[in-house]
Symmetry: C2
Subunit: 215 residues, 2 copies
């Protein structure tokens, strides 16, 4: 009993404790949403008094904003790492569409959607949201520009187009947050639409039904 229920938390150095708190906030956000990030909630998960969380994060709005950035930045970093391993712009764009639409990132999508709303009353969060949107747009724009340089894509304004594609992805994934069924060929439709927008060859961005060809 004395080992399972700890009366007082083990004393740790600030960096370690701060990391624990950030990680707890991250988990809470992914499981229950950004608005579940609460002094008491985070404290309970770390196994620590609420005051300690407040000590490391003087205001909760900041913690929420930082947590949002942490989650999204990690995703961007991960995805763009995968992008780098692909041979050319067409493959990268196709991979992007397929990956982001796949449905395995609903938790991150929920965080995005909630951040859009919370940003109205949390200025720090709003700034982070804009920053991360810029990051995503930058990644996507890079792919489009590479495609243009390689002669595979054609568009006048890669930046604007990148925003457009991002918006479409956001809307469609947000939709899947509420309604799973209904849309059958989500990926296919989007790929077709984007092909038209970037002037790529028909089918060049379709998610390849690679690997498993059965059922």
């Amino acid at each position: 009993m004395s080992s399972t229920t700890q009366k007082r938390a083990r004393r740790k150095n600030p960096a370690e404790r701060a990391a624990e708190i950030s990680e707890a906030a991250r988990e809470i956000a992914l499981e229950q949403g950004l608005s579940a990030i609460t002094l008491r909630n985070v404290a309970a998960r770390v196994g620590v008094a609420s005051g300690l969380v407040a000590h490391y994060q003087p205001n909760v709005d900041g913690l929420v904003a930082a947590t949002f950035s942490s989650i999204v930045a990690a995703e961007i970093h991960e995805v763009s790492g995968m992008l780098a391993a692909l041979p050319g712009p067409s493959e990268r764009l196709a991979f992007l569409l397929e990956t982001l639409m796949e449905g395995g990132r609903l938790d991150v999508t929920a965080v995005w959607v909630e951040a859009w709303t919370l940003g109205r009353r949390n200025e720090a969060l709003a700034t982070c949201v804009r920053g991360q949107m810029d990051s995503w747009q930058s990644v996507l724009r890079g792919v489009v520009e590479d495609g243009i340089a390689a002669g595979q894509f054609e568009t006048e304004d890669p930046g604007s187009l990148a925003w457009q594609i991002l918006g479409m992805i956001d809307g469609l994934t947000a939709q899947s947050l509420v309604r799973w069924g209904g849309v059958s060929d989500r990926g296919t439709h989007l790929a077709r639409a984007v092909e038209g927008m970037v002037g790529a060859a028909r089918g060049s961005l379709q998610p390849q039904a690679s690997g498993k060809s059965v059922s």
Copy 2:
């Protein structure tokens, strides 16, 4: 003084009072968001005790859900009324894209986005959200099917396509909630994408730079 500051609210019949409360909730939602719908907040706007609001709306979740439905249903009704006045499917689809992307409905967009998040913890709201999404999809699907019948559009699955277009619109308008600049030709890009998706002629869905041709 006795006329400006009323000590006790005028006695009204239930239907009238209920309508007042609904209207107040509607205004609050559009101005401050769905989460600002509060017993005391609504009561203050109506000029009434908080208990009275609770009397008419036994639980707040229900009021939030009803308010969402009211706002969105009104918009759908309004827009589909305008659609009926247009000559053909191409004009209707173009009008839809133009109207919904125009930026004059940011308040409604904010309500949508917040509803997606709040629906996670408000089951009644979640049901309403799904219902209104169905309504929108139904309107859009109707336009697409008409277009197919008229030989102007071509697609295998109008229902799925309608979902797709809706998702794109949602994402792009939500984006404009946070970031105004950045995208120049929002409407044009989207129109081009949709043209590709429905197999319509290039330019047939472009927002006509009608009326004012200067500057």
